[in-house]
Amino acid sequence: MDFHLTDEQRMLQDSVQRLLAEQCSFEQRLAYRNEPRGYSRALWRQFAEMGLLALPFDEADGGLGGGPVDVLIVMQALGRALALEPYLATVVLAGGLLRDAGSAAQRQALVPAIAAGEMTLAFAHAEAQSRYGAADVTTCARAEGDGWVLDGQKRCVTAGDTADRLLLSARVSGGSRDREGVSLFVVDANADGISRRGYRIQDNTRAADIRFERVRVGHDALLGTAGEAVPYIERAVDVATAALCAEAVGVMERLHELTVEYIKVRKQFGVAIGSFQALQHRAVDMLVALEQARSMALYAAMMCTEPCAAERSRSISAAKIQIGRSARFVGQEAIQLHGGIGMTEECQAGHYFRRLTMIELQCGDTAHHLRSLSEAGGLIAA
């Protein structure tokens, strides 16, 4: 057992934190929100220069061969800064699918562009009826000529409104929730037949509902073997969940700091409200929730490389449950300890609270993971 970061990992942590401190302050972020893409392209290019966008890809494909702990470090820093940039969508989630399911030709065609900051991706998977089911796909793909024709609708695709390429799940056979019969395709987001309705989501990042109508793609758009994508999707979603857990820890860590700083300076009855034991104890309970979450985010990162898929999913579900519970508690308590000012748009706390609430809903909410974990027999063998 070893909790040490390597020298390289510490350097990565320092440089990402420094970049975000300089380029992604609260005020800068509010300005980025109004840029055409809803985030800062300039900052995205700096991510590229720093190698962050190449991080988890294989060196042979133009990546840096980083592991889950490296991703954890980046995500935690992005969480602290409430960064709007589509790192999770492009690099971790869709990027993870490309890395694991893509052919060498597909990887080599896309990874260099992603790493250079010239191309963003989104994973178009969830549908109106699917909620969090990995195999619940009705969008269909029919073989036609030497390629495929795609039809269907995807819902709330994170960063889907600005992505240059979409990774898309579509059914080639079977019933709407069968594990067999789901395939992955990579398509140009501006291809004929694709219409996107982009919108802002609660935390100021963006998403899109995407409609595919007779979208024709070549046979080279298929990732992996037709009909066998579900295990890849499950793995990519697990890895993204672990990354999201790390982001949540960054968000909670900063929110807790902001709250403790605030109760040290806010005066009522002639004294700092942080001198009141009732408030001190609540701030401590937030710390405990944060540390429990931090432990499980590490655990999730560690389990990304677990070879047994059931064990991996079970462990990462456990992490997401802890994150969900801690996030709810830390977020709500932060608003309460801030008092009225915490309810306002101008106060940072609310922005962190909103992001935490969205994290709870992404990659499976607490109820979803609690059901999965308990159906898998829990963590302790009877």
Binding site: M1, D2, I263, Q280, E291, A293, M302, A382
Partner: protein, 400 residues
């Protein structure tokens, strides 16, 4: 970074597990499994088995009988002990007075006491709390007045658990009534057979006699039995409380209880099916398992951080372990009670105390679940209540 056990650590765990499987007497194991209390002779028998193996005092410095295990190995050992399930050797001896003497005792004290503490020839109890000194421990008033090479001790101690079994007591007394609270306190070792020591039982809400009040009336204690300098006893006590806190998470015990609850829930029927098949029950268990896993990693993280700082001081964050650990111990005890349901209602203190080994019915185990739930309430009160832990964290970690 790698949170998984190394191959060596797994081999160590298997070695410990195999030893417990072979060396733990079946009658003692059965008692632990049923949640019964272990008697003094049983405790002595078990500690001497561990002692023979060289495993009674893993955390001590190797020159005084420690095993030299890494912190992770010690953690594994404790967890396997709880999962065996075996009694945890008396904490007063192994986690408290032993380490205190190693840190503050004279060579003579170490040579005399440490081997006897490890073998439990001397069963120690703790004389800290008083009627007016609970969470505010430094308010203690038991006085010690120097008389030649003795101290004359007068006062009353409270919550002296296992005093009725004990041969010795480590005691905090006030030697300078004028000094500021923490400064006039001295740390003494008292022979429980000394004239003037009276121990009276306190029966707790679980119907059990574990703790006591202790009256000290002109008790003569040799100055040679003082630990550390006169009026510097608070430093020894603080050191000790730090040790007590880091041991108190008891993740292994909570894991044992949850595992046991799951096993029993497979046998208990509810609406015509095993309770374990009830999704609501399973989700409640899963929630607890998640918190336990998180606490386990938090504990291992703190162990690693303390090792890295290497200043021997307990991390103030260990208060997190105490708080969360006690809450989960309590939650796990409640879970067992809920699995038992109406079978928990019969009051049978003799069974709980382990005076009767089994009944004809097959749900004996249920008889201990309510008393153990009651008793578990004490873990968030002892060793600095959880509210005191919150004060410590607010001050030292949050700077409030």
């Amino acid at each position: 970074m790698d949170l998984r056990y190394t191959a060596e650590e797994i081999a160590f765990r298997d070695e410990v597990r195999a030893f417990f499987a072979q060396a733990l007497p079946p009658d003692i194991r059965r008692k632990c499994e049923l949640g019964q209390r272990v008697s003094k002779p049983e405790m002595l028998r078990w500690v001497r088995i561990l002692q023979k193996q060289g495993w009674a005092t893993p955390s001590w410095a190797p020159e005084w009988g420690g095993t030299g295990w890494s912190a992770v190995q010690q953690y594994i050992f404790k967890e396997e002990l709880a999962l065996a399930p075996a009694p945890e050797p008396i904490s007063f001896n192994m986690n408290m007075i032993g380490p205190t003497l190693i840190a503050f005792g004279t060579d003579e004290q170490k040579r005399h006491f440490l081997p006897r503490i490890a073998r439990m020839d001397y069963w120690f109890c703790q004389g800290f709390s008083e009627p007016g000194a609970g969470s505010d421990l430094a308010a203690l008033r038991t006085s010690a007045v120097r008389d030649g090479d003795h101290y004359i001790v007068d006062g009353q101690k409270l919550w002296t658990s296992t005093a009725h079994h004990a041969d010795w007591c480590f005691l905090l007394v006030r030697t300078d009534p004028q000094a500021r609270k923490q400064q006039g306190i001295t740390y003494l070792l008292m022979d429980m057979k000394s004239p003037g020591v009276t121990v009276r039982p306190i029966i707790t809400i679980d119907g059990h006699h574990e703790t006591n009040e202790m009256f000290l009336d002109h008790v003569r204690i040799p100055v040679a039995n003082r630990v550390g300098e006169e009026n510097k006893g608070w430093d020894c006590a603080k050191y000790l409380l730090g040790h007590e806190r880091s041991g108190i998470a008891r993740v292994g015990l909570s894991k044992f209880r949850v595992r046991r609850a799951k096993q029993l829930a497979a046998c208990v029927q509810c609406d015509g099916r095993p309770l374990i098949d009830d999704p609501r029950f399973r989700e409640r268990v899963a929630e607890m398992e998640v918190e336990l896993k998180a606490l386990e990693i938090t504990q291992l993280r703190l162990i690693a951080e303390t090792g890295r700082r290497n200043d021997g001081k307990p991390d103030p964050k260990s208060s997190i372990l105490k708080m969360k650990g006690s809450q989960l111990q309590q939650a796990a005890a409640e879970l067992l009670l809920e699995v038992a349901g109406p079978a928990a209602m019969e009051f049978d203190p003799d069974f709980v105390a382990g005076l009767r080994s089994s009944t004809d019915t097959d749900d004996d185990w249920a008889l201990t679940t309510a008393p153990n739930h009651y008793w578990a309430r004490h873990v968030s009160i002892v060793g600095g209540s959880n509210e005191i832990q919150r004060n410590i964290l607010a001050k030292t970690v949050l700077g409030l």
